[in-house]
């Protein structure tokens, strides 16, 4: 049956237009139940025949109780398309989760297209609001189901809408609220997942203060959306993303485009219930209130948060924001700071998601088994405490749990949320690792059956067909070898170096041919593209590709024939590239060396075997290439990477040390860089608009400010006008001790931005530059096993060589940009997770062994200083006086970056060496932290 749906719509030009759409009402929509007695098509049926109760959900249930729905206890659900549409319009995040539920074959969620079905289509009546129409549509569909599946299953409408429930019962349907339904299941732990309706908020207040007089307005009311919009338009308010200071949760920044500067927001009440990542509207405070920012390590507040010991950050993005503030604090002593200060007046878009953490310890309430209110403390210190209600308090107190925020009323100090699930026991290494993964949004679930089905049959061996392909070069007789960290199982690069008759060298870089096994559009490819990168934690690795590919089929192990994608250069002994060839190949590696082994071979002058001489030849070429690169202005940066020795049985760390970089590492790195550059040139030439490249933006003046300040205070003059100048002045920065130069380099590295992937069509070619490597073009080609970007680049290169067709995805620039954004996000998260994992193990290590170590002062604060411990790669604050007490005997000399004890000669200056004591303390339960104190 055909029906026209007509509605009026306002066009962009402001004209009112009548739109007419056809709507075909069908008869052939199956009910999706195996219990169906009539002639419905069962091919897509999801509801089992023995389903006692089939649930029909109302929109409000989906919107508010999605955590409950995700619990496997809720099953046999009919999701109506009217509900789907409403959810999509109201909350896209919830819609995506619901969609995932509906497509998950493990769950019995059936989508019923009630709007397209003749018997359940409902036309809006005159005077009926769209909401009422939708409610009626839900009831009509429920009634149809009741008649259709009569006798086989009970149909239950679950709704929290009182009116809808009343009408449903009047119409003879069975309807219940979520809470009463969950109660009827007889599983009290599920009740924790139920979000309570806001009308009950009043009773939830009790956890904090029982006295009704305390029920006052703590935060000012958010302005209505219309007012915000007009305020933004008139530039009274400023819009931006709120970022909370990682080191001080009571300070936040809003990057505002309309002002062109960051607006500082001090204190929880000015932040006005905004979370980190929310898009907010900010009002500027009058200028005379702009001086609140101080450079003390912590701005004290009613709460007990404080600064923490962290791993030394490796780039500006990780570093605490407060760095910039030192300079302003210095100025503020004289004049009012020029940095605008504001307060949040409204929240445009919430960034609420789930948070990991634990409950604040509290005594068990008297009544047993009843509901208890508890405060949840997130692991992420930027998140305020969250109030939750639970019936399993005794069970949860010693657990890491996940909690979701539901609302934040202006009369409650803390937001209220609900429990989602338990991760495990606090302090347990597996639990804490899991927390790290969840916090960084890393998917560590095993690969699904569909993904594994895409793997080639095992055991895989080289087939004659592979060899027979015209584009595959047989390089099995070439002496190829690989050099990797010890114990590396995912070897994705191998090399060879042969001396040619004319005195030149043929150097080949062979990269695992992952795209021969991962085809575009397959579930395997989708999964890899989602994961984006492998994640390396201290004690485990989360693979991007399934294990058989990662460790066997693609891994270029020794003495087995493997498929590879090769870049082969002819080079003069002066390391000038004469020609470059790209080809798919078959190789047979003759040795899988570790860096240590390779270094030992090169150093051992007695060894004269061909492999060793290859290594030496390569090394001499690499040295020339490296020199040339440095001449061009590439920065030799340093980071404080640490390495653990792990006990093989308990997996506890036995020792920590700085990761040592050898010549062999640099040699491999040099050739990988060269291969990446060569490939970048090739793909960009063929696909100027859709190549995936990697760029590293130049740091701005402000970003280099902290480095310059430190340098001046120790009497060092750095020239930062270009990467070349910076590299040169870094080379000349030689202090009194050998570690000085490295320290300066570490500080410089920290001022850099992170390199990012991008699609060449999105930027102009002047922006392609890679600052750190001083290369005009760069991409990632050499690690396709552990990075998805490389997989894409492999496909581009194969298409450029006309080996395979370019997958259709490359014609969609928007999609390509999406992919590169996701890769950047995943890459960053993977790094954060690795760091968090190292931090976790550092904590475990020092828990058993309080240690003394040498440290260098990085920064002077008003009540202490920040030190860096080179041996363990960690940095953290050392307090000279108890917190909260400002001033005291110590006087800070900002200009010279010194802190001096009044009346004595004792003083500390920046970059000075001090002895400190490292110990794990637990000032708050469940939050052990490393404390540094002056020895």
């Amino acid at each position: 049956m055909l029906q026209n749906k007509s509605f009026v719509k306002k066009t962009r030009g402001g004209k009112i237009q009548k739109q007419v759409r056809e709507l075909y009402l069908r008869h052939d929509i199956p009910c999706g139940s195996h219990a169906c007695g009539s002639s419905c098509d069962r091919a897509a049926a999801r509801l089992p025949a023995d389903a006692g109760t089939v649930l029909v959900l109302d929109t409000n249930v989906v919107l508010n109780q999605i955590d409950l729905l995700e619990n496997p206890a809720i099953d046999n659900v009919v999701v109506l398309s009217v509900v789907l549409d409403e959810v999509r319009n109201k909350n896209l995040a919830v819609f995506n989760r619901l969609k995932a539920l509906c497509t998950n074959t493990g769950r019995n969620f059936y989508v019923f297209a009630n709007e397209n079905f003749k018997e359940t289509n409902v036309i809006q009546m005159v005077g009926e609001s769209p909401n009422d129409r939708n409610d009626r549509a839900i009831r009509v569909a429920t009634r149809w189901y009741q008649g259709h599946l009569a006798g086989n299953s009970k149909i239950l409408l679950v709704t929290n809408d009182r009116e809808n429930k009343r009408k449903a019962i009047e119409e003879g349907l069975s309807a219940e609220t979520v809470e009463s339904y969950v109660r009827s299941l007889g599983r009290p732990e599920l009740l924790d997942l139920v979000v309570l309706p806001t009308s009950e908020d009043a009773t939830m207040m009790d956890v904090e203060d029982l006295r009704p007089s305390k029920r006052k307005i703590i935060y000012s009311e958010h302005k209505p959306m219309s007012e915000i919009t007009s305020g933004l338009l008139h530039r009274i308010y400023h819009q931006g993303k709120l970022r909370v200071n990682r080191y001080n949760p009571f300070e936040a920044y809003v990057g505002s485009e309309s002002i062109g500067d960051e607006i500082v927001i001090h204190g929880r009440s000015n932040m006005n219930r905004a979370f980190d990542g929310d898009i907010v509207a900010v009002e500027l405070l009058p200028q005379d209130q702009w001086h609140e920012g101080e450079s003390s390590i912590i701005a004290d507040d009613e709460d007990d948060e404080e600064d923490d010991v962290h791993l030394a950050p490796s780039s500006a993005d990780d570093a605490p924001r407060s760095i910039n503030q030192v300079q302003h604090a210095a100025a503020s002593t004289l004049t009012v700071s020029s940095r605008p200060v504001g307060r949040v007046v409204g929240i445009i878009k919430r960034n609420w998601h789930s948070y990991c953490g634990s409950l604040e310890p509290m005594p068990m309430p008297a009544g047993h088994g009843g509901t208890a209110h508890a405060l949840f403390v997130s692991k992420d210190r930027r998140i305020p405490k969250i109030r939750i209600q639970t019936r399993q308090l005794d069970n949860l107190l010693d657990k890491r749990i996940i909690v979701v925020v539901d609302s934040w009323d202006c009369s409650s100090r803390y937001p209220s949320g609900h429990y989602v699930r338990t991760i495990g026991k606090i302090g347990d290494k597996d639990t804490e690792t899991e927390v790290v993964l969840i916090e960084n949004d890393i998917n560590s679930r095993p690969f699904s059956a569909q993904v594994l089905a895409c793997l080639p049959p095992l055991p895989w061996t080289l087939s004659p067909e592979d060899l027979a392909k015209p584009h595959r070069l047989d390089l099995r007789d070439v002496r190829v070898f690989s050099v990797d960290p010890p114990g590396c199982t995912d070897i994705d690069d191998a090399l060879h170096c042969t001396r040619l008759r004319n005195g030149n060298f043929e150097v080949g870089v062979h990269i695992a041919d992952v795209t021969n096994f991962v085809h575009p559009g397959t579930p395997l490819d989708e999964e890899a593209s989602q994961r984006g990168t492998s994640v390396y934690l201290v004690e485990r690795r989360i693979d991007m590709l399934p294990k058989p590919l990662t460790e066997d089929i693609c891994s270029l192990r020794s003495d087995v024939e493997r498929l590879a994608f090769s870049v082969i250069w002819e080079m003069t002994p002066e390391a000038e590239i004469i020609s470059t060839r790209y080809t798919k190949s078959v190789i047979k590696s003759c040795a899988a060396l570790s860096y240590v082994e390779a270094q030992a071979r090169m150093d051992d002058s007695r060894l004269m075997d061909p492999l060793t001489s290859d290594l030496r030849n390569m090394n001499s070429l690499a040295k020339i290439m490296r020199l040339r690169r440095i001449d061009r202005g590439a920065l030799t940066l340093a980071s404080a990477e640490v390495k653990f020795q792990i006990d093989t049985e308990t997996h506890d760390p036995l020792d920590i040390g700085m990761y040592q970089i050898r010549e062999a590492n640099q040699m491999i790195e040099e050739f990988m860089l060269a291969a990446n550059v060569s490939v970048a040139e090739k793909i960009l030439k063929h696909f100027p608009l859709c190549s995936l490249l990697r760029r590293h933006p130049s740091p701005t003046k402000e970003m280099l400010e902290p480095l310059l300040r430190t340098a001046t205070s120790v009497g060092l003059d750095l020239d930062v006008s270009s990467s070349k100048r910076l590299a040169d002045s870094l080379d000349h920065a030689v202090g009194d001790d050998p570690y000085f130069n490295k320290l300066i380099r570490i500080l410089a590295t920290r001022c850099m931005t992170q390199a990012v992937y991008f699609c060449s069509g999105d930027l102009s070619s002047s922006e392609f530059f890679h600052y750190g490597l001083a290369a005009p073009l760069y991409t990632h080609f050499t690690s396709p096993i552990r990075r998805y970007a490389d997989v894409i680049v492999h496909r581009l290169l194969a298409a450029a060589l006309e080996i395979s067709k370019l997958p259709p995805i490359f014609q969609d620039k928007a999609q390509l940009t999406n992919i590169s954004d996701n890769l950047n996000y995943r890459h960053r998260n993977a790094q954060m997770a690795s760091r968090a994992s190292v931090e976790l193990h550092t904590l475990i290590y020092f828990k058993k062994r309080p240690t003394d170590a040498e440290a260098r002062i990085l920064k002077i604060k008003s009540n202490g200083f920040i030190v860096f411990v080179p041996k363990f790669g960690i940095e953290g604050p050392v307090y000279l006086m108890p917190r909260g007490e400002k001033g005291g005997d110590w006087v800070v000399d900002e200009a010279h970056q010194r802190i001096i004890k009044a009346g004595t000669n004792t003083s500390f200056g920046v970059l000075q060496t001090v002895m400190i004591h490292l110990e794990v303390v637990e000032p708050q339960p469940n939050r052990p932290k490393l404390e540094l104190s002056l020895k």
Binding site: L2, N4, K15, Q17, K18, Q19, V20, R21, E22, L23, Y24, L25, R26, V79, S81, L84, K99, C102, T103, V111, A113, E115, N116, K805, P808, Q811
Partner: protein
Amino acid sequence: MEHVDPLTGFRQDGRRVNEMRQIRGEIGVVAKADGSAQFEMGNTKVIAAVYGPREVQNKNQQINNQALVRCEYSMANFSTGDRKRKPKGDRRSTEISLVIRQTMEACILTHLMPRSQIDIYVQVLQADGGTRSACINAATLALADAGIPMRDLVTSCSAGYLCSTPLLDLNYSEDSAGGPDVTVGILAKTDKVTLLQMDAKLPMDIFENVMQLAIEGCKAIANYIREVLGENTKELEYRRGS
């Protein structure tokens, strides 16, 4: 906007991806013309009138060994929602006129009618995507009604590619989504393509699938048109009293 709901597999108007809109054809709607027809594809409604074969009006254009086929396509001012006054003979109409003329010329046995002229007028009464196809289908019916000798029935249908799926018979909202739109015209019995238009890039293998879908649509339309003509013939027979 999702043009195909991934969960239910339905398009926004409740069709599946390989379903056409409702089609309807009627013969003899303009009494004065030698042949006429109205053709509807969902909310797209066009009318076609055929005059001829008749004497060539402008002797300069006369062709000695075949008939001259002329076509004029226009859209009624009320055919779209916004009341825009479009000048007659704008580029789009000229282009579509040409397309229709060439398509129809390929199936008319023009050599049987030398030194004569056939005029095809098509007008869009209501536009909701796929006007080109609807015009060709209407013209076919009108030509048959006028009794003009033809090799075969030409029918046309469009198909597009949205949300990584080929879609048959795009309506206006799907058509304006920016995806590729392939219009195909075939000679139904001989399976020959007389019209193939696409103004977008599409990988070869996908293009073939989309085109195949459009051809299936053309065949379905041909079956329907044959039915309409059969009914019409029966009626004529009845009127002759035999």
